[in-house]
């Protein structure tokens, strides 16, 4: 501990210089520590950034260009076009803006995975990704940047991006845009919309849940009551009630797409109120799945395959596979049609796939009922109650 303190009336470079040196030394030390942490297992201590001027202050807003990296955290080099089947879209370059992380086991991951598959199969040349774009204005800037960089197809994967897209798309008539989940193309012929008929899987899972619940109730943890989350929740409710009119279905929209703790609390409340089956939509459901796992309560997942989060209690997942939509979009572009259509993934076209968890021992009659329900929805005999 220093014993001298600069007195206010002493004007001199000395104290200031001493502090300056200390400041620089401290920062170098911090830089080394930070570098060591960042490089972790490598054991390298990269050069310290005593004067590091690089920063990204918008907490969470990120931008990654990966050619096919699924886990999202490490980037590979330039794009490689693998796969022998070139196809009509073989040289289409795609860019996507995602509202959360590409490995969030939810909405964003579903699109990232689809694009990866497309690229591995040679159906598109390469794709670029901007993740964690929850700041709408940053996403808008990214969309505009991608368009001006000459990507053939720019995907705005989030309903909050639509308003910005409406303004940007007219500036780039030779670029194809698509956004979801939404059905509006703004009357522009270079904008497409894509939706997920999440109500279909939701209905099926509601039916199953009602059969599997025993004496307990069902609990649904939702984000905000909009879009495909609302479709899913409503249909789950409808399916459960159709199967068993006595069933109690509790719904809690926690008003956030990201508050994991609150989702967990909502799930806990349900369980303590007698729920034996839980489900939910959007990325904060990770918290709810954790509760399901701890309390041995069944979980029905949507958006992505969430089995690995709770291998013993996950029954089935409605996985979004956007490949069919992407294929249509790409084919259209190759033909010169840049937009004006809306696409939907559903149980029929393979865009929504019910992936059952093999580790969970599903009774045969439930499985049969599920298959019947799926068939009924596909051929139109069952109405999930969604607007259409």
């Amino acid at each position: 501990m220093s014993t001298t303190h600069a007195r206010p009336d002493r004007h001199g470079a000395q104290p200031a210089r001493r502090w300056r040196r200390r400041a620089v030394a401290a920062v170098i030390a911090l830089g080394l520590v930070g570098a060591a942490c960042g490089s972790d297992d490598d054991g390298d201590t990269a050069s310290s950034d005593a004067d590091s001027t690089a920063a990204s202050g918008t907490t969470g807003a990120t931008d990654t260009t990966t050619a096919g990296g699924t886990s999202g955290s490490t980037a590979t080099g330039a794009s490689t076009s693998e796969g022998t089947t070139g196809g009509a879209g073989g040289d289409i370059r795609v860019a996507v803006v995602l509202p959360s992380a590409a490995n969030d086991l939810a909405f964003s991951q579903s699109m990232a995975d689809s694009l990866t598959r497309m690229q591995e199969n040679g159906l598109i040349a390469e794709f670029a990704m901007s993740e964690n774009m929850f700041v709408v204005e940053d996403a808008a800037a990214a969309i505009r940047d991608y368009a001006s960089q000459g990507y053939d197809l720019v995907l705005a994967h989030g309903s909050q991006y639509g308003a910005s897209l409406e303004e940007i798309a007219p500036d780039f008539p030779e670029v194809a845009f698509a956004w979801g989940t939404a059905a509006d193309t703004f009357g522009l012929d270079n904008v497409s919309g894509y939706t997920a008929a999440s109500d279909e899987g939701g209905y099926v899972m509601g039916v199953m849940a009602a059969m599997l619940r025993g004496e307990g109730s069902l609990g649904v943890v939702g984000p905000i009551e909009v879009g495909d989350a609302k479709l899913y929740v409503d249909a789950f409710n409808a399916g459960a009630t159709a199967q068993d009119p006595e069933v109690e279905v509790g719904v809690n929209y926690i008003e956030s797409f990201s508050d994991t703790a609150l989702a967990a609390e909502a799930a806990t409340s349900f369980v303590e109120g007698g729920a034996t089956v839980l489900t939910g939509s959007a990325q904060m459901t990770v918290g709810a799945v954790g509760v399901a796992k701890d309390r041995d309560v069944l979980w029905f997942g949507t958006n992505s395959n969430q089995t690995q989060l709770a291998p013993d209690v996950v029954v089935v997942n409605q996985v979004y596979k956007w490949d069919v939509v992407l294929a249509d979009l790409v084919a259209g572009i190759a033909d010169g049609q840049l937009g004006g259509e809306t696409y939907e993934i559903n149980l029929d076209n393979g865009g929504e796939v019910m992936e059952f968890n093999d580790a969970y021992d599903l009774p045969d009659d439930v499985r049969q009922k599920a298959d019947e329900t799926i068939a009924g929805i596909v051929d139109g005999t069952i109405d999930t109650g969604a607007g259409g």
Binding site: M1, S2, H5, A6, R7, P8, W19, R22, A23, A26, L30, G34, C37, G38, D40, S56, T59, G60, S71, G72, S73, A101, N103, D104, L105, N132, G219, E225, G250, V251, N252, Y253, I254, E255, S256, S258, D259, T260, A261, L262, A264, E265, A266, T268, S269, F270, E272, G273, Q283, M284, V286, G287, V289, G290, V291, K293, D294, Q308, L309, A310
Partner: protein, 311 residues
């Protein structure tokens, strides 16, 4: 509404409230300690995030819950050291440097998470520890005595901290440094050393609170705390810088959140009223404080003022 007023629901709600309040309590107790010595630490949320991530990661890789909590506290202590250097040696403006720590914690925890883990892999959650005998008391037993160990730890810290502050020599140093640092200094108390200790302890507690949160939830996510640390700071003011007051504030906040949650579960609240209700805890806290109208006289006089001998 009648659904709500059944015994089992009420009991579950209170239990939930107690559980929810734990991270707030831990962080707020730490902040109280630091502020009593005259240091404002706004970086709590960032430190909590760091503690949460490293605690989570420890459990993920070593499957040891206690280690996870300890690592969280240790990480917090390290950040406390950093903040102590910045504040005590460099006399940086505390309000602003605290926000810097917050931003750093927010970004770094996310970086490490994405680098080292990526997907929200689940970890073992904290198990319940039943206190024998007491846990069997009807109603109260379930409300208070069937929680995970960290909840008990947090509650025990309240009288412990009160005792340290009010009945030990060190506590006396802390208080005098916070009220009249010049006088303390002239009496031979090392202002810097006292404050350094409180800062490190405060941040260690924040790190512990973050780890507790992550372990309670059994997962990690970017910005897991979602502003929890800031609320904890606010609770210090609510509690008039006394550990018991902070306990009351944390419980109030936790309980109101639990009640709102329960009402949503039961369907009492839905639609647009639900989103308004989500702000109930925040509003109530401000209202409560305004109504009680505690003057700032309880505030440590030297709060946020850097100490310089001879000033």
């Amino acid at each position: 509404m009648s659904d709500f007023f059944t015994a089992s629901v009420l009991v579950a709600t209170v239990a939930s409230g107690v559980r929810l309040s734990t991270p707030y309590l831990l962080a707020a107790l730490g902040e109280t300690f630091a502020q009593r010595s005259g240091v404002l630490n706004l970086g709590v949320d960032g430190v909590m995030l760091l503690g949460a991530f490293f605690g989570y990661w420890t459990v993920l890789t070593h499957d040891n819950l206690v280690a996870g909590l300890l690592v969280g506290a240790a990480v917090g202590a390290v950040m406390g050291l950093v903040y102590a250097i910045v504040t005590l040696l460099f006399h940086a403006e505390q309000g602003i440097s605290g926000i810097g720590i917050y931003l750093f914690g927010l970004g770094f925890s996310e970086l490490m998470y994405r680098q080292q883990v990526g997907t929200p892999l689940p970890i073992r959650g904290l198990g319940e520890v039943e206190i024998p005998l007491l846990a069997d008391i009807p109603y109260i037993g379930e409300m208070l005595f069937r929680h995970s160990g960290i909840v008990y730890l947090a509650i025990v810290l309240v009288p412990l901290m009160a005792w340290v502050i009010n009945r030990t020599q060190f506590g006396l140093n802390v208080r005098s440094v916070g009220e009249t640092p010049d006088a303390a200094d002239s009496l031979g108390v090392s202002v810097r050393r006292t404050r350094a200790v409180t800062i490190v302890v405060a941040n260690a507690l924040a790190g512990l609170g973050g780890a507790a949160l992550a372990l309670e939830l059994g997962t990690f996510q970017q910005n897991l705390t979602n502003g929890l640390g800031f609320i904890a700071i606010a609770l210090v003011y609510f509690g008039a810088w006394r550990p018991t007051g902070v306990l009351v504030g944390s419980l109030l906040f936790g309980l109101v959140t639990a009640v709102v949650n329960q009402w949503k579960t039961l369907g009492i609240l839905s639609g647009s009223t639900a989103s308004l209700a989500t702000m109930a805890p925040a509003l109530l806290t401000v209202l409560a404080l305004a109504v009680i109208a505690r003057r700032n006289s309880a505030q440590p006089a030297a709060l946020t003022l850097p100490f310089q001998r001879g000033r």
